[in-house]
Each structure stands twice: as C-alpha cells, then as structure tokens.
Symmetry: C2
Subunit: 332 residues, 2 copies
Amino acid sequence: MTMNRTVRLARRPQGLPPADTWAIADEPVPQPGEGEVLVRVKAISLDPAMRGWINEGRSYIPPVAIGEVMRAGAVGEVAESRHPDFAPGDAVAGGFGVQRFAVARALDLERIDLRVADWPTWLGVLGMPGMTAYFGLLDVGALKDGETVVVSAAAGAVGGLVGQIAKIHGCRVVGIAGGPDKCRHVVETLGFDACIDYRKGDLVRRLAAAVPDGLDIYFDNVGGETLEAAISLLRRGARVVICGAISGYNDFTKITGPRNYLNLLVQRARMEGFIVFDYAGRYPEAKRQIAEWLRAGRVTAKEDVQHGIDRFPEVLNMLYTSRNFGKLVLVP
Amino acid sequence: MTMNRTVRLARRPQGLPPADTWAIADEPVPQPGEGEVLVRVKAISLDPAMRGWINEGRSYIPPVAIGEVMRAGAVGEVAESRHPDFAPGDAVAGGFGVQRFAVARALDLERIDLRVADWPTWLGVLGMPGMTAYFGLLDVGALKDGETVVVSAAAGAVGGLVGQIAKIHGCRVVGIAGGPDKCRHVVETLGFDACIDYRKGDLVRRLAAAVPDGLDIYFDNVGGETLEAAISLLRRGARVVICGAISGYNDFTKITGPRNYLNLLVQRARMEGFIVFDYAGRYPEAKRQIAEWLRAGRVTAKEDVQHGIDRFPEVLNMLYTSRNFGKLVLVP
C-alpha cells in the first residue's frame, strides 16, 4: 500500500534551521471527505517567508504549530475526488504542505493549465512569486513607463520577474545579486540593463555608478545594507517597495533599520510594505498577463528544481545561504 | 542713522551650535532696488530645520553659505517700496532672514492680514508650521475621519496643529511631549485625548496603553526611539508621515533607522516623507481654512515669543533641547 511521506515541524529553531527542526515520516495516505479531493503532490514551493512561519508568535498569518505538516504552496494531480467539479488527473494548485499526498477542500483549489506551463512554473512566475512581483511593482510601486528600477535578489523568483516586467514597461533596470553566474543570467537571459554583484563589496559606489541619476523604484527583497544603499540613491518621489528582508530572517535581532531613512523626506519618497495575499481577488488578471508574456517570449521563467522530500531541510536552507538559482522547487 | 543688525553664519558647527557659529553685527540698512521693498522685520520664525540648513552639502535646499545672513522665514512691515503694489505700513511675510531690515523682491512677498491674527501667529499656525501640519496630515497622511492619530512633539508648532486638525476630523488623538506642563497643555488647551510624557520612560508600553487598538497615522517630528515605538503599534494600512527627526539634527551620525521597519510589511503600511514647499501653490487654501478654524475657536495658536536679536544663538538652541513651548518666534 502506498504511504504518504510528510515533513512536520518538530521544534522551533534558532537561526538557520538545523535538520532536527523537522520530523520526516511515513504515514497512511489521508482520505478525502465529502467535498474534498486527494492530491498527489508534484512540486512544492520553497519560499523565504517559510522561515518566518515557523517562529513563535503571530505575524501576518499564525505560525505553523509544532507537529503540524510544514505549510507550503504546491501543485499536484487529483488522485481521488469527492467533489463533482474535479476528477482524477486534474492539475491543481493549493496549500498542500510539504508532503506527497494532501487532502484539500475543492473550494480551496485552483485549476492550473499544463499547456501554458509545466508544474514548477506554476509555483514560480505563475505562482505566488509571480503575483508578488506583479502587484508589488505595479500596484505598490506604482511603476511608470521609463523609470529607473533597482531590484535586489534579482536572480530570485520574485526579483527576476520584477525586472522583466519593468523592462516590458520601458524602464532602465538594475539588479543586485550574489556572484558572477547569477549576474550574468540576470543581464543575458532576463534582459536587465545591469547587475551588481554585492559580494564584490563597495555596493553603494557601484550601484550609484549604475544609476547615475538615482532610482525611482527600489524593490527590496533583502533589507540590511542593500536597502540602505538604495535609499541613498532615491530620486524625487521615489518608492521603496518592502517585499522582504531575507538577510535578517534567521536572526530578527540583527535586523537594522535604514539609518538614512530621512532621505525619504529630502526626496519626498515613500517606503511601503505589502502582503501578496491581499491581492488574491486579482490573481487571475495577473496570471493571464504573465502567461501572455511567457507565450510571447517576453518573460523567461527560471526554476531551480530539487528532488527528494527527505532533502527538504537542506534544500530549504539554500534560500538563506543564497545557493538557489531561480525559483526553488522541491519535487517530493 | 538707523542701522541694520544682522546674524550671519560664521562657521559650520558640530553638534548643538555654539555661540561662535554666528557673527552678529550692525550694518547699513540696505536700499531696495527697482521692484523691491525694504521691510522692517517684526518677528522671525525659528525652526528645527535650521540646523540642517547650516550643514555642508545640499539637502532639499542648498546650505546657508559662510558669511550669509542666516536664512529664516519672517514677517514685517514695508518701510520703503519701489513697487506699485506695496506701500509703507503694509504687513508682509517672506524669507527675510535673521536681521532687523531686509530687502525683498515684491513678487516674493506674501501679504498678511493682522485683523485675522497678530504677527507671531503668521509664523505659527498661519505660517510654515501650519502649512506643514495641514498638508502633512491631510495629503501625505491621507487622514480619514475617526482614525487614531499619534503625533510627537505635540506641544510644538507643527504637532499641536496636527492634533487639533485630527480632532476636528473626529479622530482619537494621542500626543507625545516632554514634561508635565507640555502634556497638560496638549490635553487641556489643545484638546488631545491623551498625551504621553516621553521623559517618564517606558514609552512603548505607555503609548500602547493609550492606543490599545493600534494607530492609523503616526506624524513624526522626532525620529529615534519614538518612531520605533510608533511603528510597533501600526494598524493595517497605517501611514507614518516623516516630517522631521529633531532628535538627530545635531548629530546625523547618531540617527538610527527604525529596526522594526518590517512591520510596514506585516501591516501593509507606508512611511512617507515630504517637504512643505512642494505645496506652495495650495498655501492660500490652507490659510483660509486655518484662519476660519481660528475664528471659530476650533484651533488654538500658541507661540513662544522671545525678544532680542542678540539672543538668537541661545534662543535657537531651545528647539533642540526641548525648552520652547509652542511656536518659537524671535522679535528682533
């Protein structure tokens, strides 16, 4: 008999989560109730925000409880259905968690179209990172054609799409990423105008040279010194979009605020945070648009697909050590 | 023959400006050219921003040069006119600087009406601080009726009016000020709902108790720990209006950024700076409205009027040591 393999939260970690944060085990495959379906998980999304979800205390959503299956967005195939709208073989997305089989309510499922893109892409530019890039740049950032846009973690799932959307809008786009391979990808494949390798140091000076007239939008995924460097280069009326601060996720006590935040005053600029879930009602609009760009070859999707549910602990930590390259996806 | 007495910038200070920052001297009264007027200065506005104007390096306006008369907004009476629109005795406002007589171009003058309010009030709620409070709260802060508003430096020229305008809009308003006298004034005279004396310590806990459901707008004049305390109490969709950061003006190296700025993300909040000069085209609208509130007794103006141009160095420093009480004005 087929078993379900699950990754549950065993304890709350300090810093970078060690392997014993997680309990990996085989369990009976759960049975769907009335109105539910059983999903065979094909690919699991690994996201920076996961580190926050396993801390104690409520943030924008409650933490994952000890003993609970680790929360994760995922895509999969319906294996068994007790709802008339779904049949075995249907491709769906949902919050299936880090496991091989999940039971989900039919009304929580979203259908995905594998003719548009393969499983991992539905977790990348057509999934949460795509939604984050789209609404963060266009709505929160209020992008205008021809502006100068800087984005950190530019080789990542969100950053890579932010820059590509900005290019579609005729912007000058400068990425910040770690290492020559990522920087080459960002410029050559994603089409950014330039990419700064933050590992080479001297970020402020090199970023200033790349945006000699300053920047209109800084899309921040990392926080820390990178955020400060960008704030020093704001143009009049600039917007800083706070999407995340991965540099501080494993030690919140080390998070520093931007010491030069008064430049917001000098430049009549704003810094604004957002949570992509607030835009759920508009996901279909964003997905249609991104799918169209994909088909037209105006957006390139890049996923970093890792295999084996047992490798979840180490694969997750790739995010926090800057070792993934593109949207990180685990095939369980 | 009458002489002009001037305060010129002698050197760029470190920290709180010592007396030898300034050169005070008698000079011949300047002569107006064609299209200009000579103004006898009646009252000079002393503002926190002055500390920034005497630092080297361009901020939102160029610094005052060494040897230049110190920049200041002021009000006065036309003593001599070489422009048909102005006659001796007319009451005017302009950037007259710290001196007893000033020559100004007629087109840079604004007429003031002494039947509406006396000289000092035209530097307070009807002057730059009034404009700052009005546009900062209503435009940048996008105040909505019934919200919860927190304002620092609540006994000051800007803060006091911010709170009163918010009360007119049916808001719950909590001030932060230094010492029991100021706090009493803020509640009893200005009509705030509460005022926290930051000198008593434990600001976060006491502010949290005063706004148990969090705050919608924080109007920041001070920066530092007060800003951080307010950010910890943001409600969903809150706005932090960055008006100033007087706590850091005398030592920019000590300015810290708010370590909890990621709460902007959790609460989908924004932090935005502004410069009141950008609203110059709308000053008449704001002055009409504030004058109406003054007449109706819905706004109380409080100025701290000091006398003697020779006392400029010490009077200015009252701002940075929290010793003024209301809009600080110098009668030269």
